[in-house]
């Protein structure tokens, strides 16, 4: 959804209805924690509502804010625990034989790479939009995805 007007309550509700779940999943994959993901996404929506006059492209802003907050959250966790948090397992994952390999590969990726993988392979975003969400150059997206895919391929080959 492309929204260029400042947010009103109906605009807010429409963006919220359409993108809340996808943003929580982005944050979950990046942080590895569902409670943290819900916190981060709600904080991002709150921030958007507070700054609605300044934000012209809310979906891009929200993705960017979520990735940024997730990165900060993971950095704090890394400092506390000296390693990246594992990905919590959802209660009902379908019996896809590749899921364990992908999950263990994701656990080895930095939060930025996890986010890049989600934006590319879950949301199917083009590189320019991924770059906007991650706040980096499109060339950096290429290298992030290249490295991430190498790690994923190694794990898939092992399983």
């Amino acid at each position: 959804m492309t929204v260029q007007a400042p947010a009103t309550a109906p605009v807010f509700d429409a963006v919220y209805a359409r993108h809340y779940a996808e943003l929580v999943r982005l944050a979950y994959l990046t942080t590895g924690s569902l409670p943290a993901a819900e916190d981060v996404v709600q904080d991002a929506f709150v921030e958007w509502w507070r700054r609605c006059d300044e934000v012209r492209s809310p979906v891009a802003y929200l993705r960017r804010a979520v990735v940024s907050r997730c990165t900060s959250w993971v950095r704090r966790r890394v400092r506390e625990r000296s390693r990246l948090p594992d990905l919590e397992v959802a209660p009902a994952v379908p019996p896809n034989p590749d899921v364990p390999a992908v999950r263990s590969a994701l656990a080895r990726l930095t939060p930025r790479r996890r986010a890049a993988v989600f934006l590319r392979y879950y949301l199917d975003l083009p590189e320019a939009e991924i770059a906007a969400a991650l706040g980096c150059r499109p060339g950096t997206v290429k290298s992030l995805l290249h490295r991430s895919l190498s790690t994923l391929r190694e794990h898939l080959d092992e399983h």
Partner: protein, 465 residues
Amino acid sequence: MNTEQRVRAALRDLVDAVPVAPPPPAAVRSRAQRYERGSGADRARVRGAGHRLAPVLAAAGLMLVVAAVAAVGLLPRWAISPEPSSLRGGGVAGPVLPDRFAGRTPGTASVEAAPPGPAIAVFDHATAGTVDIPVVVGVDGRTYREVGDVSRLTNAGDDPVLLAPDGSALAGGGGSFLDLTTGELTVRPVLPGDTLRDGWKPTVPLAWSPDGRWLAYGRIPVPEGDRTDLALLDLDTGEVTFVTTGRGDGPPRVAFSPDSSELAVSTGVADGGAAIRIFDLAGDLVRELSPPAGHLLAPNGTAWSPDGALLLVQDPQRPRRLAFVDASGTGAAVPGPVTVDQPYGVEPVGWRGPETLLLAAYREPGSASGVPRSLARLVEVPVAGGASRVVSVFPHGERDHVEDVRLASGLLPLAEIRDAGRLDHGPVPAEYWIPRVAGGAMALVAALLAGLLVRRWWAGRRAAP
């Protein structure tokens, strides 16, 4: 199915299984309104599951505080009363470039919590399984601090930060600055979006003028069409001047002249390195220079020699080879190209003087896709050519990854290269040591209680008939 299809399918299964139950949007909006009114309750998640744990958390917090207070007395002196590195020894010692850089450790303090003072270097350091974080090295060469919240300075930690020529501050995207003496973060807006601290930072710093007054920024993503705007921020007045540099497909490479009066620009591979344009700081084109085919200005704002005579250029496809261009455009003679005797290429990081370049050498070959490589060492190379000399090494364990080395250009000619002595990582961050001290304290209490119970049980058994 190929790898990408398998990843796509597995990712969908993994992520779609996550139960997401959005709270009503009105509840989130009202939280924002409470926030505006300054209520503390707004910080809690709307669903508020954490409230049930409040008594437990309060008790745990009390224990942590007790443990922390006890532990402060046990910390070594250096850990609780750090001085900025520039103040040690009365501030009379000159800058030191360590002959061996240490990296960040889990206990390295942050710049924000324990400012290091002016720095000689900053570089991104990651070890396996951790994120890369800028590490600041003080002018004494032995003080190490990491940037505590790098997302406030860069776009998700992707873009490198710049170090001021005098080492006093870091410049990040979106007009952000981290003062290394006070640890304070400020924002000097370059573009309107720069006011969003946690949001998109539309500018990335490219070069800092030698006099410390000007910063050149590029836009991300680069504007489409035939123009690439550079923004010049005057730190004295806050004014921003835009320089239209011509077509390019990436942030341009730029360098200030040593007297900070001119800016050299090459605008990425779309130009094919065809021209280097020299602008004055009002944004007017002064002259154009022709580098060898395929060559661009050296990266990181390091291209202009300290005597103003040369511009250092490099062919991105041949990272071991360096060449020089007459900066005046008058046809003055320049030294011939230099092929550096480092196996995997080099990245210029500064000048030790008009005759000596300082380069960071890679420790692995490059890949066709341009995946970032780790840097291994700093080497000096004479402008006139000759063997390189290793002057410093970076952390080089199998798990270490070093990128984006930036040096304080104004301090380099004065810096002594030597063993910097005992490392100072600053006060161990509270979030690192409090859980460990508290855990130890709780284990001790548990052991004492267990001992008491065993003793009571044993005494009761002996007293029994």
